[in-house]
Amino acid sequence: MGRSSLGGAVLRGMLLTLVVLFFLFPILWVVLMSFQTNETILRIPPSLLFEPTLSNYTALISGKLVTNAGTLELAFMNNLKNSVVLSTVSVALALLLGVPAAYAFARFRFRLGENIAFTLLSFRFAPPLLVLLPLSLYFRQLGLTDTWVGLIWVYQLIALPLILWIVRGYFEDISPDIEHAYRIDGHGWWRTFTRIALPLARPGIAAAGLLAFIFCWNNFVFALILASADKQPVTVGALAFVTASGIQYGQIAAAVMLSILPTLLLALYAQRYLVEGLSLGAVKG
């Protein structure tokens, strides 16, 4: 009995390790690549043994890539900053607009309400490339091409539907009686929204905000078409590593590591809000 369960545990552990290795190996490989020069990365056969170097990171951070063909300017840190600004402002705006809208959709039945909500969701159905051409034409006419406002506006296509639909579900899960009770206590609707609805939907808002941030962060085509060099995020900026003198694998790997970092930190920080129970057992269902 004891032996068989021990064997089971060992087997389970091995299988889990296998699965983890399978899924995390590419990331591990990228981590290893980021500490190697192009020569050690491209040698055949590949080897796990190499002399680690920080040259990729220093090149990225200092913005100067020294190669055999000469010195190359890298805008990576600027791209990273652009990514942070674009994603943060977009998600903040989407939260500001989306959370009250989600509350309205969850609590009130109004004419065309479902249609509006569905239309917003349908923005996520269409492939971005489909809307990109008309969008860029309109943007040119409106003078929004290559502006922060224009980019953040387009990013709402990504962030707003996501936040609206996730947060709406969380608001719907809160018993309306809890809000009614607060109103009957003598509080106005705004206080009820900020003191009852918002705190209770916090896990959902955190999850939606995080997801929206990741989606914005990973966006490529919108910024590629609608932004010029000084406003491009890391996803587009990474193209610069494909140079005339070859592909800079080491720098790409280091850039990937640096660009994962903000979302990873945010996810770790938001985790405690994500796991927080929603209704906390106050309403007997």
């Binding site: 018993s175 009686d177 809890i178 009614h180 009770a181 607060y182 109103r183 009957i184 206590d185 003598g186 509080h187 106005g188 609707w189 009852i196 705190p199 209770l200 129970g277 209704s279 906390l280 057992g281 106050a282 309403v283 007997k284 269902g285």
Partner: protein, 360 residues
């Protein structure tokens, strides 16, 4: 009209789409009075409370508190306290903060809030759990916390939506005894909603039976029980359910349960028409020996049921008849399966129109 808080419902109606939930409902509640609104689920009880509380607005009619129309006023502008069936506590706040909420809304000083919360918590015996969040409270404590929140402000009108529904049987029994005294000490006009007729009988000075959006009967508990307005109310009130037999009286007697049973003089006018005859289980005297004017029956089973025991009888013509006797008396019937004689009390018979259900 008294000067103190008093609630008036005047021809209130509420529809959701085509469904009429409340239809021309009128009621007056004095301050210090408990009116129990009782009825089957889906009868519109909760909607009625929502209309009074102000979380919904009526389509027709007027709701007045202290003589002032409440139409168009939001829930926060009415002097109403409400305890919910599902407690509706704020899960992210402590019991203390939950109870303090109505006082904070009125901008009372912290010291006074504390004093009043402590007072009502002591009254409801939850002083020791004020620091806990709802998750850490037992169902009984949640129920008391929600009651405390409704009471703390001493509202002129108090709405209790089946507050004992989700607590265990023992606590429900205790609270049934405790609530009338507690509520009396606050002097509010109380509307208490329940599905449980025993709770209604125990708590209400008056009972309003709400069925299909209408008050079918409003009266003292003993009136609703003894003289139900119709068949459904007679069925609803009473445990075990009232015995009902379709029959056709012929003046002074009626063919019932395979025998001729004499009728009370008052029922002479029912001669010749179809009636549904109702006999309360406790109005039947059961003996192991024949009694004059009794009906022979077979005893099928004896079920002890708290203080009284229910006897399941089968009459000669195969009809089932439920009777209750004090539990000590039940011992002489053993486990059942024996011939017995049941003496009906003709003066306590209730006659209903089989078609409309109205009492005759």
């Amino acid at each position: 009209m008294t000067g103190a808080a008093r609630l008036v419902l005047d021809g209130v109606a509420k529809r959701y789409g085509r469904a009429v939930v409340l239809d021309d409902v009128s009621l007056e509640v004095e301050s210090g009075e408990i009116v129990v609104v009782c009825g089957p689920s889906g009868g519109g009880k909760t909607v009625l409370l929502r209309l009074i509380a102000g979380t919904e607005q009526p389509d027709q009619g007027d709701i007045r508190i202290d003589g002032k129309s409440m139409l168009g006023l939001g829930a926060e502008q009415r002097d109403v306290g409400m305890a919910f069936q599902n407690f509706a506590l704020y899960p992210h706040l402590t019991a203390y903060q939950n109870i303090a909420s109505p006082l904070e809304a009125r901008g009372l000083a912290t010291a006074e809030i504390k004093q009043r919360v402590d007072k009502v918590a002591a009254l409801l015996r939850i002083g020791h759990v004020l620091g806990h969040t709802p998750r850490e409270l037992s169902n009984g404590q949640k129920q008391r916390t929600s009651l405390a929140r409704a009471l703390v402000r001493g509202p002129g009108t108090l709405l209790l939506d089946d507050p004992l529904r989700n607590v265990d049987a023992k606590l429900r029994y205790e609270m049934r005894l405790e609530l009338p005294r507690l509520l009396a000490s606050f002097g509010s006009a109380v509307i208490y909603v329940t599905q449980d007729y025993r709770e209604a009988m125990a708590l209400g000075r008056r009972i309003a039976v709400l069925r299909q959006g209408r008050f079918e009967q409003v009266g003292a508990p003993e009136t609703v029980y003894g003289e139900p307005a119709n068949l459904e109310i007679a069925r609803l009130f009473g445990d075990p359910t009232i015995n009902l037999y379709p029959c056709r009286p012929d003046g002074e007697a009626v063919e019932l349960l395979g025998e001729r049973v004499p009728l009370a003089p008052g029922m002479a006018q029912l001669a010749g028409r179809e009636v549904m005859l109702g006999i309360r289980a406790e109005d039947i005297e059961v003996a192991t020996e024949p009694m004059p004017g009794s009906v022979a029956a077979e005893l099928d089973a004896v079920t002890p049921l708290n203080v009284r025991a229910v006897l399941y009888l089968r009459s000669r013509d195969g009809k089932e008849l439920l009777a209750t006797v004090p539990e000590d008396d039940a011992l002489r019937f053993g486990r059942g399966h024996r011939p017995v004689w049941a003496k009906l009390a003709p003066d306590r018979f209730l006659a209903f129109d089989p078609a409309t259900g109205a009492r005759l």
